[in-house]
Amino acid sequence: MTTATKSDELRTAYVADLRRAARGLPKARREELVAEIAEHLREALPVGADEAETRNALDRLGEPGQIVAEEYRRLDLTPVQGGPVEWIAVGMLLLGGLVIPVLGWVIGAVMLWTSRVWTRREKLVGTLIFPGGLGAMVYLVAFAAAGTAETCSSMSSPGGPTITHCTGGGSTASDVLHIVLAVALLVGPILTAVYLARRIRRPAV
């Protein structure tokens, strides 16, 4: 049985950082670059290297951001840095549906898909969790509240008993379901907004 050493840990963390920094690169080149750096570390460090050796090797290698910056220079790409447009897009996706029902969120989605900052996958996440943003939650909660409210009608006939007939009123199970749904609809869009916002700033160059 092998246990991960501190050296393995540092190496893994470095490669993960590199992969993250290289997110904006074309996929084939990103994978190649990560493989080249991993191979470099295999060559530079003996099996069972200690922590100090590993840290020195990583220092010599340089910051992942620095390596990726060089890659951008080579490809003559400007790292895509988001600006006000991207922040507005995230804002509209989250809150647009509250300000202008449906349309506000749609505007956010269009801005999301026309921006060059996000990858296809990020755009899918931004669109699918959840359509309508927080607006969806507010409307669904309002809708559910209306649907589960008890409505009672009383019929009394002269001399007879008063008959009260009630419709609606959620069972406990459906109440729980509604709460879970409402929390998901609240937390989902917020997490998505954070996810998208964090990616507005691409690797520092």
Partner: protein, 118 residues
């Protein structure tokens, strides 16, 4: 102010490195093929490499420009290695740069020494 000067000097050196390093790689390949990590060690020993990692984007650029060609070869100590060798284009670029560099270096040396350019 002192900090600013130190910073400018650092960035001037970084720019010099950036300008010459690819030719240093070509020069190291003049007499035969070498693999990536070998180039890193040689450049590091020569003190022309600021951060070892940046050599890999540079090698990719040289491949793209056709200045070097590569072959994968089995290694006795691990996975196959990608070996780099000079192409005819690379050799020509190296010769031209060597010429330019001599002229440039002599010019700068002359000016720095306070004399006039010979």
């Amino acid at each position: 102010l002192w900090d600013m000067q130190a910073m400018d000097r650092g960035s001037a050196l970084a720019q010099l490195r950036r300008g010459v390093i690819e030719y240093c790689v070509l020069a190291l390949l003049r007499d035969g093929e070498r693999y990536g990590f070998e180039l890193v060690k040689l450049l590091g020993a020569a003190g022309v490499l600021a951060s070892e990692g940046t050599i890999y984007p540079l090698l990719a650029r040289l491949r793209g420009d056709g200045a070097v060609a590569t072959t994968w070869r089995e290694s006795s100590t691990g996975p196959p290695r990608r070996y780099y060798r000079l192409t005819a284009d690379g050799r020509r670029a190296l010769e031209e740069f060597s010429e330019d560099w001599r002229r440039f270096r002599d010019g700068v040396d002359g000016v720095l020494a306070g004399g006039s350019v010979p």
